[in-house]
């Protein structure tokens, strides 16, 4: 990566800082695609390309493009350019430092999480009113409405309820990092018990059979481990197809070729709808759905939540499936006693 000075002619030569591997270009068109740091002087800045590059518009700006933080300052004279060039080079060096990048990434993630949390939390309030009052309207005035109006109202109410579920799942997702508890030795079997208790109604409704092999104690946040099994079991039951869900939970030492680092590999297998392996990665993304809402009514957050929990525990998660022949989600967790 180069520090490129695309400066006004009289400043160009002097502006090149000795410490930087800087290239001086006469026009913006000479910029290389991997140039991330650009200093624009007044002359270049007035060119159409220069203007396009300026984030905030206006002249005499120093613009750092492509870096996570856009730094700007006034460039008054060549001397300023030299010192700014040094500062910039330090900035670039710092950005390239893996440790710094990790911190930046962590901070960006934290910001995003905070945003997701704030957004979903704040949106819940007005939505609670919409959901409650459409419910009240249906209950108290439903029989006075003509069928068409009643249908509109039902759509509005369903929409509000659905959005509530989406936001609730988004909140759960955003809290996996921010509100995680400490990792302690916990029984994975007890976590499955907890998940099945929470899913009791769904198990009864779908007449699901859950076959369980004994699982070891793992090093985990107990609440999140229950959440993880809940997400995976719920997923398995949701995508069961027409027949009652047949779900199997078992474990094995992880395949070193797939998962390095020891621990235990736990598998949740179902004989349900399965999926095309083309989507094996995508199904773990947020709000990803492979089926229409008419087919399956989910939020598309279950596996995203599962992945986030597994990754918080330092584990890996993946899925294999075949359309019409079921799917297996497998994940690794550190075993209690082995350390995280």
């Amino acid at each position: 990566m180069d520090v490129v000075f695309c400066a006004c002619p009289d400043a160009a030569t002097e502006a090149t800082p000795a410490s930087a591997e800087a290239r001086t270009v006469a026009s913006v068109s000479e910029l290389a695609p991997d140039d991330r740091v650009v200093v624009l002087g007044p002359a270049a800045a007035t060119s159409p390309e220069g203007r396009a590059l300026l984030l905030g518009g206006g002249l005499d700006l120093l613009v750092v493009l492509g870096a996570p933080v856009a730094a700007r300052a006034r460039v008054a004279a060549a001397e300023d350019l030299v010192s700014l060039g040094t500062i910039l080079q330090e900035h670039v060096d710092a950005q390239l430092d893996p440790e710094h990048q990790a911190t930046e990434l962590e901070r960006a993630r934290a910001d995003l999480q905070l945003f997701a949390y704030a957004a979903s939390h704040e949106l819940q309030e007005p939505l609670r009113m919409v959901a409650s009052y459409t419910e009240l309207l249906c209950d108290e005035f439903g029989d006075q409405l003509d069928p068409q109006a009643r249908r509109y109202l039902d759509f509005a109410h369903d929409g509000a309820r659905r959005m509530q579920r989406l936001l609730a799942d988004l909140l759960t997702y955003s809290r996996i990092q921010s509100r995680g508890g400490p990792l302690r030795p916990v029984s994975a079997d007890a976590a499955v018990d907890g998940a099945l208790e929470a899913l009791g109604a769904e198990v009864r409704r779908t007449h699901a059979t859950i076959a369980r092999a004994p699982l070891p104690a793992v090093l985990a946040d107990e609440r999140q481990l229950v959440q993880l099994f809940e997400a995976l079991l719920s997923n398995a039951m949701t995508f069961a197809g027409a027949a009652p869900p047949q779900v199997r939970i078992d474990c094995t030492p992880p395949d070193p070729a797939q998962f390095a680092g020891g621990g235990v590999e736990i598998r949740v297998t179902d004989g349900g709808l399965g999926f095309d392996m083309r989507h094996a990665e995508r199904i773990f993304d947020v709000f990803q759905r492979l089926h229409t809402r008419d087919e399956i009514d989910g939020t598309g957050m279950g596996l995203a939540i599962a992945r986030r929990i597994v990754e918080r525990h330092g584990g890996r998660i993946s899925a294999v499936g075949e359309p019409g022949r079921g799917a297996t989600v497998r994940f690794t967790l550190p075993v209690a006693g082995e350390g995280p």
Binding site: R128, M129, A131, S132, E135
Partner: protein, 143 residues
């Protein structure tokens, strides 16, 4: 079960109506008094001014975020008062911030409940509250 005197401290008229509807649907015999801010709640509880004849409620449903004197201060004053402190106070709020939960219990709230997302859920919550505080629990007689 006698008719329950409930004091609802809530500034959002939409929520006030929902609680009324919830109580009605849960068939809870009640006299509901509504205070729309913290000052009014304290005036009612401490029988000040025009509220000199107010009865001590059997239950307070308290929102935390109120204009002026907020719910936390109302809670503090109730729980610091020699006789009022026996009145069960259930915080009913849209907040689920850990700090609000902790602070409420530090101030001796009897329960902290997040406002339920639907009217059905609210009805169930009010039903449980009514069963618990008006039927199951034994509270001191009189004032």
């Amino acid at each position: 079960m006698k008719v329950a005197d409930i004091l609802l401290v809530e500034d959002n008229p939409g929520d006030v109506l929902l609680v009324r509807k919830g109580l009605e649907r849960a068939r809870i015999a009640n006299r509901l008094t509504v205070a729309t801010d913290g000052q009014q709640a304290l005036d009612i509880l401490f029988r000040r001014g025009e509220h000199a004849d107010a009865v001590v409620p059997d239950l307070v449903l308290l929102d935390l975020n109120l204009p002026g004197i907020d719910g936390r201060e109302v809670l503090r004053q109730i729980k610091e008062h020699e006789t009022l402190r026996k009145v069960p106070v259930v915080v009913l709020t849209s907040s689920d911030a850990e700090t609000d939960i902790l602070r409420s219990y530090e101030l001796h709230a009897n329960s902290f409940i997040r406002k339920p997302p639907t009217l059905d859920a609210l009805q169930q919550v009010l039903q449980v509250l009514s069963d618990y505080w008006f039927v199951i629990v034994k509270l001191p007689e009189g004032e």
